[in-house]
């Protein structure tokens, strides 16, 4: 395709294609402009921000998740030991053993107050 005849042929084809591309109606031209503007609005931010964005997102997620995780964490061994001591302490066992007597005493006292 290097002969002058071929060049003329190609020039005609190019000319026709250029004319086709130029002759776009107003509605289509407007849609193309809108598409271009929409695409330009998607222009990526600075590269450092794009690279660091996932790291920043992870850091933010950790900042929220860590306190929640710590609050849900079981009590420390020391706190557990304290609770265990309270459970097994036998200081007031006598009170619980005589619970029925103290209930009767309380009820009797109330009746006496009501009667008096």
């Amino acid at each position: 395709m290097n002969e002058p005849r071929d060049e003329a042929w190609l020039a005609r084809v190019r000319g026709q294609l250029d004319a086709d591309a130029r002759d776009v109606d107003g509605a289509t031209a407007s849609k193309l402009t809108q598409a271009r503007h929409a695409a330009l609005a998607e222009r990526p931010r600075a590269r450092w921000l794009r690279v660091l964005a996932p790291a920043l997102a992870v850091a933010a997620a950790l900042a929220i998740a860590l306190p929640l995780w710590r609050s849900a964490e079981p009590a420390s061994p020391a706190a557990n030991a304290e609770a265990f001591e309270l459970i097994v302490a036998d200081d007031d066992v006598a009170l619980y053993e005589d619970l029925e007597f103290y209930a009767w005493l309380g009820a009797d006292g109330d009746d006496a107050d009501a009667g008096g």
Binding site: V13, L17, D20, A21, V24, R43, P44, W48, V51
Partner: protein
């Protein structure tokens, strides 16, 4: 943030583009404005429908800006057409699958006689009036280009119309330089046979 910049630069996280963002946006706008109508024509030849073509061009612009806006401006043309070519290939693949399903679901329509879509007028077909007004060449060229296989048509349009060199055309079409030459040579032979001398 200023103090952070040397560190970011060492990590290659800072744009080394000397153009400020506003100038780059303006350059991108100019580039897209320059190619959009030719891209639309290419997409129209590939799809046969103005609306499909518009959708493909819009998608290509978005993909190009998202992925390649930071590349040097000298690389934009092959990269833009690479995205466009990829969208056109996707369109053709989807259409092929759709056609196969249609044939599988109604094999009696294999010859196309019963296909209602075959009866619908081509919206891009100019019609007799416009054909007279615009001359015969437009119609003949349009028909000849549409008759070409997709890869041959893309090679012809990118090399001959868009003026990309062989390497850039290969980048746009994601193939080797040799494939570009083969597609182009076949396209030229087919077009010459169909269009004649255009005298």
């Amino acid at each position: 943030m200023e103090a952070l910049f040397p560190t970011l630069a060492r990590l290659d996280l800072v744009d080394r583009d000397p153009q400020p963002a506003a100038a780059r946006d303006a350059a991108l706008d100019r580039f897209l404005k320059e190619v959009e109508r030719r891209a639309l024509r290419m997409a129209e030849l590939g799809t046969g429908h103005r609306e499909d073509a518009l959708e493909i061009v819009q998608d290509a612009m978005l993909g190009f800006v998202r992925r390649y806006a930071d590349k040097p401006a000298t690389d934009w043309a092959p990269l833009f057409y690479r995205v466009l070519d990829s969208r056109l290939l996707d369109f053709h693949r989807r259409n092929t699958v759709r056609r196969r399903w249609r044939l599988w679901l109604s094999p009696a329509d294999e010859d196309g006689d019963g296909d209602p879509l075959a009866q619908v007028a081509d919206p891009v077909e100019p019609g007799p009036d416009r054909r007279c007004a615009d001359g015969e060449l437009r119609v003949r060229l349009d028909a000849a280009l549409r008759a070409l296989p997709l890869r041959q048509r893309q090679a012809f349009l990118l090399r001959i119309w868009e003026g990309l060199d062989v390497a850039d055309t290969a980048t746009a079409m994601r193939c080797s330089d040799g494939s570009v030459k083969t597609h182009l040579s076949r396209a030229l032979a087919a077009l010459r046979a169909r269009l004649g001398d255009l005298a």
